[in-house]
Subunit: 239 residues, 2 copies
């Protein structure tokens, strides 16, 4: 398949590499391809320049967000951070029309402090906006009425999402939520190709609230396990 | 031990019955004991009158909230609903001083509708207050500075908390959070006596935010599994 991944951060790279490994034609979108390629230093989270990643993964094409979405033949993964997602995606609504968009962003309110200069909240308690009575997934769906939004991947670190067997021999649970059954089926098939065996359909996109708000629990479990800047664990729904 | 359970609802009854079965002297607190004993009809959630429960569990004593807390020799379980907990507990701060209070309430904003007349949100998406930047557990701790508050039990239905083996042969995870290590140890020992083998200390009480906000995910998982008014499942942290 021709699959677009929007974003070049650590989470997006996990999906890009896995999709290429599975034989898909991967089109990566970034806000400004020239600026992305011009970077030569790791970002403040320690992620190496994207140029190095591209050199290690030949055959992957870097485009603008819109061109990457347009190159997809049906499936787009949103790796744009939650803070910027609605705005960036609204601009390319035409290129996303009719396609399935899998969103895994958490709408973190950025908390830059001298001790925690990075934009995501590992090591501190997160804050979310929206929260409780709305979700980023629902906001994206309202902004893109012609696109089928599926919320998934959000309850784990993306390195474990693309390699479920790396945690507990793969015996943990992944979740999907969305208002379009066919789109959820596409997401489920992608997850099976990643190696997931226990995929639970939570129901309509309103369930994205629970998936995003789980970010607090994910952080707390990570603290409890002694992790500081990531979490190599999953959760299994035991029934 | 002499243990107090504050509240007479379904969740509280699960703990009362289990504690009595384990040989503890259980002191149950209610706002107005006479009114509680006078009820002869099931409540709007279908819970039978407490008088019937008492008849089936001889030896359990019913008191006012304050008298029950005073009768405890160190451990109190808060089963007062989240909507009323801070106010009701503040009144008996003296009786709770120096004791460990295990709180499992979720601060649901009640949503009475003709279709959903009951006060807890099974069948609908919950709303929480406080949420995200504060938690009920922290509010209770601020209101009771002389009491050691532990948040626990909150991520599952209480019938499964007191009988973990009833779900997946007991191979799932229970969480504790709190600012006092000794109090968390007491809660952990109680959980072990209930049959829990995987108990994860998340850290300080700020982690109660994640445990309470997990109510959304718990509801969504329940929907996904096809439950309408309860959830017989647990979650296992796979690492």
């Amino acid at each position: 398949m021709k699959i677009a991944v929007l974003g070049t951060g650590g989470g997006a790279r996990a999906h890009i590499a896995k999709l290429a490994e599975l034989g898909h034609e991967v089109h990566v979108g970034t806000r400004d391809p020239e600026a992305t390629l011009a970077r030569t230093e790791p970002d403040m989270m320690g992620t190496p320049p994207f140029k190095e990643f591209l050199a290690e993964h030949p055959g992957i094409e870097l485009h603008s967000f819109g061109d990457a979405a347009a190159a997809s033949d049906g499936l787009v993964i949103n790796g744009i951070d939650g803070h910027n997602a609605v705005k960036a995606l609204s601009v390319i609504a035409d290129q996303l029309a009719g396609k399935t968009l899998i969103d895994y962003a958490v709408p973190f309110v950025y908390q830059h402090t001298p001790e925690h200069p990075w934009p995501t909240p590992w090591g501190i308690m997160p804050k979310l906006d929206p929260c409780d009575s709305d979700s980023l997934g629902e906001q994206i769906q309202r902004a893109l009425p012609r696109t089928k939004v599926v919320k998934s991947f959000v309850t784990q670190e993306q390195t474990t999402v693309v390699n479920p067997a790396s945690v507990g021999a793969g015996d943990h649970t992944m979740f999907v939520a969305g208002d379009d059954t066919g789109a959820k089926q596409q997401a489920t098939e992608l997850l099976r190709s990643y190696g997931w065996t226990d995929i639970l359909d939570l129901g309509p996109l309103v369930c994205a609230r629970g998936m995003e708000m789980y970010a607090h629990m994910h952080s707390a479990i990570g603290f409890g396990l002694g992790h500081q800047f990531g979490g190599h664990f999953g959760i299994k729904v035991v029934r």
